[in-house]
């Protein structure tokens, strides 16, 4: 299967899973995982900067559209995409990547991948929850929510890696 078609399918599948299933899940009343950002995390290494940002924008916009929250997910996802190149450099250190591959458990190894997703998920969730509340007076509660939701998202990402992308 061509790489582009796979990326497109991943986009649609992640938006549907997020909107139909994960948006209805609430652990302990207010912890909500946001798995859809996995799409931006797993774009190929050679994705040009503008495409990275624009696809993050479209992804965020779709999720916003279906969860009745205009702009919130868009803003947070674009910000995360903006941070991706820097975080990727930080996580990879001197590690080289093979052309045509993408950041994943399979291609990066567990430790590098874990550092990479943790940083970006925390960046995304923190900005998302801060944008949602739009004030700094409840910052401790907001950060707790962001932290707990991040934990669940990271767990879900690792599970999907084992399910779909494990070394055969």
């Amino acid at each position: 299967m061509s790489l582009y078609i796979r990326i497109l399918i991943r986009f649609v599948a992640l938006v549907l899973v997020q909107v139909l299933i994960l948006n209805n899940i609430r652990f302990g009343g207010y912890i909500n995982p946001y798995l859809y950002i996995l799409f931006v995390l797993m774009l190929p290494y050679e994705t040009p900067g503008w495409l990275l940002l624009v696809s993050a924008f479209l992804l965020g916009y779709m999720v916003d559209f279906f969860s009745n929250t205009p702009g919130m997910h868009t803003a947070a996802t674009v910000f995360m995409a903006f941070c991706r190149p820097a975080i990727l450099r930080l996580a990879m250190q001197k590690q080289e990547y093979e052309p045509g591959t993408y950041p994943s458990f399979k291609h990066m190894g567990f430790q590098t991948f874990f550092v990479y997703i943790t940083l970006l998920v925390v960046i995304h969730h923190t900005s998302l929850f801060l944008i949602e509340v739009f004030r700094f007076t409840e910052v401790i509660t907001t950060l707790t929510r962001a932290g707990l939701s991040s934990l669940f998202t990271i767990m879900l990402i690792i599970i999907t890696q084992y399910l779909f992308y494990s070394k055969s």
Partner: protein
Amino acid sequence: MRNLLAFLLKYKFFFIFLALEIIAFSLIINHTYYQRHVLLNSANRFTGTLYSWNMGMAEYFSLKRTNVILAEENARLREKLPQSLNNDTATAIPAFDSISMLQYSYVPARVVSNSTHKRNNYLMIDKGRRHGIDRDMAVIASNGVVGIVMNVSENYAWVMSALNSHSRISGRLKRSGYNGSLLWEGVDYRTGTFRDVPSHAEIQAGDTVVTSGYSFIFPPDIMIGTVTDHFVARGDHFFTLNLAFSVDFNRLAHVYVVKNLVRKEQMSIIEEL
């Protein structure tokens, strides 16, 4: 000009980022009435249907509980029937005449989307303008207050839940009669905050808080919740009460929209001032 272009091209990653963020934030900021209106009328024709399917399935799982709640409500209503009054005089024949004017009418609705985990929660119900729903109508469940209609489309209405930082609902302590206002400070969808009760009021845990009816939106004496504890916050002269909501917002399925038929008249007196 050429230098400017070169500069923009050199940092194009940053500038594209900036442009997209500006679009995103303008979406957030303009998401007042206009945005919600557009959303309701175009997107929600699609998502509304999607949510209807989703809730249609989810409804089956809560049938048993819903039946219990409806049965309890039936019992309460039955108590109010003239037949259940003790007829020891011959004059207790109730008749509808022009004196007993109907003030509140109720439209049953189903919840098609709902949230309790955000700081500002909203819900969508499957009744809209076509069913006579309009802005600023109250939404209640059979066991208490739910929220206020913010916007309507042809077939759906968008309701600001009591679990919202912008929500203020006027309430009253049923036993002692003191007034205050209900707000929600986030985190737990089961507990709300009741403010502005004078500090000389006598309050006990377990006291019932009901709507006051002062806002012309909610009918009076609709249950809000029960007091769990109370304290005077530092620098405040009023009691702050923690409430346990009587409604389980996480399991809302059937609600009623309350139309105040004389609201127009009530509001016109205020506007004349």
